[in-house]
């Protein structure tokens, strides 16, 4: 370990003398490589649907990845990938990316999730307080919309909250709350039922565009 730190220090010196890559990509199409040509997400890459997410949430999550709240403790390679990308983005890149994503029509993939929808509906009552009755999200609470998101993504996030890989960062207040809630869901089957219910919900026509994304 000591050696390693030593080499890092050594290389920091070596590398400063060599060419450093700037962000080569000025275009936001970059996002579409993983998240799909309409920012609708891509299961094969494990990339979630971005088109359904409002500006404020995209912005907050990009910042979360940048600061390492998301991705840092994580053991899954996907959030590490996103963390690396977010960390290479300037504030202008972030603005441009969000503006670009807003240009796509919101769409949802029809999924069949093996779970008890009515049981999931009951369980969802707890979620509704923050995420809204139609899972449309609530900016004041820092809760993203869930309707229209992929089941595998929702499930992975619930598991990440439960294991503490998400929601443990000091400044992540909304995440900490979500972690508590996720921990209170004890059975794996409950997670599946919950997600099965959420995937039955239609996308709500809310205003995804927000001017005060700095907040």
């Amino acid at each position: 370990m000591k050696d390693w730190i030593l080499y890092c220090a050594l290389f920091a010196v070596l590398f400063s003398a060599t060419v450093q890559a700037e962000t080569f990509h000025t275009d936001a199409q970059y996002c579409l490589v993983c998240h799909g040509s309409n920012a609708q997400g891509n299961e094969a890459i494990s990339a979630p649907n971005l088109a359904i997410l409002p500006d404020w949430y995209l912005s907050s999550q990009l910042q979360a990845f940048q600061s390492g709240w998301r991705g840092h403790q994580s053991t899954d390679a996907y959030s590490k990938e996103m963390m690396a990308v977010a960390q290479s983005m300037s504030p202008e890149d972030i603005k441009r990316a969000i503006g670009f994503i807003r240009g796509f029509q919101v769409s949802k993939t029809v999924e069949k999730v093996a779970g008890d929808v009515s049981q999931g509906k009951t369980l969802y009552q707890t979620c509704a307080a923050c995420h809204g009755a139609a899972a449309e999200g609530n900016q004041t609470m820092g809760s993203p919309p869930l309707a229209g998101q992929y089941s595998w993504y929702l499930l992975r996030q619930l598991q990440a909250y439960r294991s503490g890989q998400r929601g443990s960062a000091e400044k992540d207040a909304a995440g900490a709350l979500m972690k508590q809630i996720a921990l209170s869901i004890k059975r794996d089957q409950d997670l599946t039922d919950l997600v099965a219910y959420i995937t039955t919900l239609d996308i709500q026509k809310t205003n995804l565009q927000q001017t005060d994304i700095k907040k």
Partner: protein, 532 residues
């Protein structure tokens, strides 16, 4: 990890193992995807035969300038089709990527420019590096385009094997390890043959004496069939002006303690890796250059495909170019975009076709290359070849070219284990280089002293690839290969992903040939219908 050491895995089983296990044997099995494991290759000798187009002007859009796309544009062009390649990247070639001074390494979140010195010998093949003789399709183009070739050394007895769990972690020359294991193994065999008056069925018609002689020559045994060391292991001292002194054989138990025998020891036996394999002089991308010089004006770079629509006749493709969406139609479309990315691109394909793309997994491979200011390995009597270690870096490659030059590029890490690739990809470039140096130092003391700089390529993070190649599970191959290979309307998926040999350019070339012959048939049928 332990069970599979004792078990011979078939290639199909090996596909299933990927992602499930680590360790050197598992690593080698996973490498089966890259043809590294003994695959029964039905050497296909036939070459593509496209007849000149006679059914009027036809247009073809080719998505992706991978080897398959380049082959398609070249052959179809020769036959009279109007072709255009749309390539999302700033460069053509796809996974056929050679990195030299100043090259942009387009890794998501980790963009970098290659910091090697400007010198034609200082490069590394980040993707394909070698071609076996029976890959007749890709070699057909090397011959046709007069691409200058050289041999590439996969196996050099003077390289090292190093295992943290054996020989106190000290490196051992492969020649010594192999001579001793063979010696002990032959002695054991000879003893058991001697102990039996007559061999049992099914070996009962074997000439016992011949078998004993075989053991002797195979293991270099003494007259009484014991192994007492061999000059195959290299001399301890002397041998030229004084008598050679043999090395004391290592204990068989110690040899077995190392993981080397479980995989890497037999690397040079594999169907696609056995000597002699060859490679273009100056870098694998000389093949790409040769195609590009014959495709002037036909390759549109930085054109990211956004949508593919099947029309009643032909195909419509939308793509981003300079921030604008462009739309184009063609009679046919050949598509080598990695399936996992195509699954996220808008289309009106049949659901079962897209389902296969979604089911294909992203393969993971990482390479780290290091520039050495001195070719210290040559002083250690290593000229080309591969050393093996059970650390994450897995391999060190010594260049097969530029012998006795001042500097050289080592491949300081090359792993096929997805878990290792995850660990490496999660690091910054600097951390990757530092890790490669720390681990390499177990094979070469003072390693760090010689390394000036390095570059890394993690394929699962490379822009427009997001994987090193398609990973087919055994079940998926059985149930769905035909679905992905068959055209939907005028659209064909191509690339090594649509072959039983993913991870080899041969698969890419032959998939393109397959699709083009199918297009030719479609044209033929249309003509016949018109005639009727």
């Amino acid at each position: 990890m332990t069970e599979i050491h004792n078990k011979q895995l078939s290639r199909r089983e090996a596909l299933l193992w990927i992602g499930k296990v680590g360790g050197s044997a598992a690593m080698l099995q996973a490498a089966g995807l890259f043809g590294l494991f003994a695959t029964p290759v039905q050497a296909q000798a036939e070459l593509v035969k496209l007849k000149p187009l006679t059914s009027g002007p036809k247009t073809v859009l080719i998505l992706g300038a991978g080897i398959s796309g380049l082959v398609a544009a070249y052959e179809l062009g020769k036959a009279g089709y109007h072709c255009k390649i749309l390539e999302a990247s700033h460069r053509a070639g796809g996974r056929n990527l050679t990195i030299r001074h100043g090259d942009f390494i387009d890794e998501l979140g980790n963009p970098q420019f290659c910091n090697f010195d400007k010198d034609p010998d200082l490069y590394f093949n980040a993707g394909p590096a070698r071609i076996p003789a029976h890959h007749t399709a890709i070699l057909h183009y090397c011959r046709e385009f007069a691409v200058e070739m050289q041999t590439f050394c996969n196996y050099n007895k003077n390289c090292y094997t190093q295992d943290d769990n054996a020989f106190a972690g000290k490196p051992v020359r492969i020649r010594e390890y192999e001579a001793d294991t063979r010696g002990f193994f032959s002695e054991l065999m000879a003893k058991s043959v001697q102990a039996q008056a007559k061999l049992d069925a099914p070996f009962d018609d074997i000439d016992r004496q011949k078998l004993l002689e075989f053991c002797r020559s195979y293991g270099d045994l003494s007259s009484d069939f014991t192994y007492e060391g061999s000059d195959r292991a290299g001399y301890q001292s002397g041998g030229i002006l004084s008598p050679g002194v043999l090395k004391k054989p290592r204990a068989f138990a110690d040899l077995l303690q190392s993981n080397f025998w479980a995989g890497a020891m037999h690397f040079g036996e594999l169907a696609d890796q056995a000597a002699a394999v060859i490679t273009p002089v100056g870098g694998m991308d000389k093949i790409v250059d040769a195609f590009l010089s014959r495709l002037a004006g036909k390759v549109q770079l930085k054109a990211q495909v956004q949508k593919v629509q099947l029309l009643p006749q032909g195909v419509e493709v939308s793509y981003w170019l300079d921030g604008q969406l462009q739309v184009e139609q063609a009679d046919y479309c050949l598509n080598c975009i990695p399936a996992q990315l195509m699954a996220g691109i808008e289309n009106n394909f049949p659901a079962d076709y897209v389902a296969v793309m979604k089911a294909l997994q992203r393969g993971k491979l990482s390479k780290i290359a290091l520039q050495a200011k001195e070719r210290f390995w040559e002083k250690d009597q290593i000229y080309s070849g591969i050393s093996w270690t059970n650390q994450d870096i897995t391999q060190i490659w010594y260049p097969s070219h530029g012998l006795f030059k001042a500097k050289g590029i080592l491949l300081g890490a090359y792993s096929w284990d997805p878990a290792i690739s995850d660990r490496i990809s999660a690091m910054t470039h600097q951390q990757r280089i530092a890790t490669a140096i720390t681990q390499g130092a177990k094979l070469h003391p003072d390693y760090g002293k010689y390394i000036e700089q390095g570059n890394s390529v993690c394929w699962q993070r490379m822009n427009h690839m997001l994987g090193c190649g398609a990973v087919w599970s055994e079940d998926l191959l059985k149930s769905s290969f035909a679905t992905l290979q068959a055209p939907v309307g005028a659209h064909y998926m191509v690339g090594d992903q649509v072959s039983y040999h993913p991870g080899w350019q041969e698969g890419a070339v032959r998939s393109a040939w397959y699709a083009m012959e199918s297009i030719q048939q479609q044209e033929h049928q249309k003509q016949r219908q018109v005639a009727v």
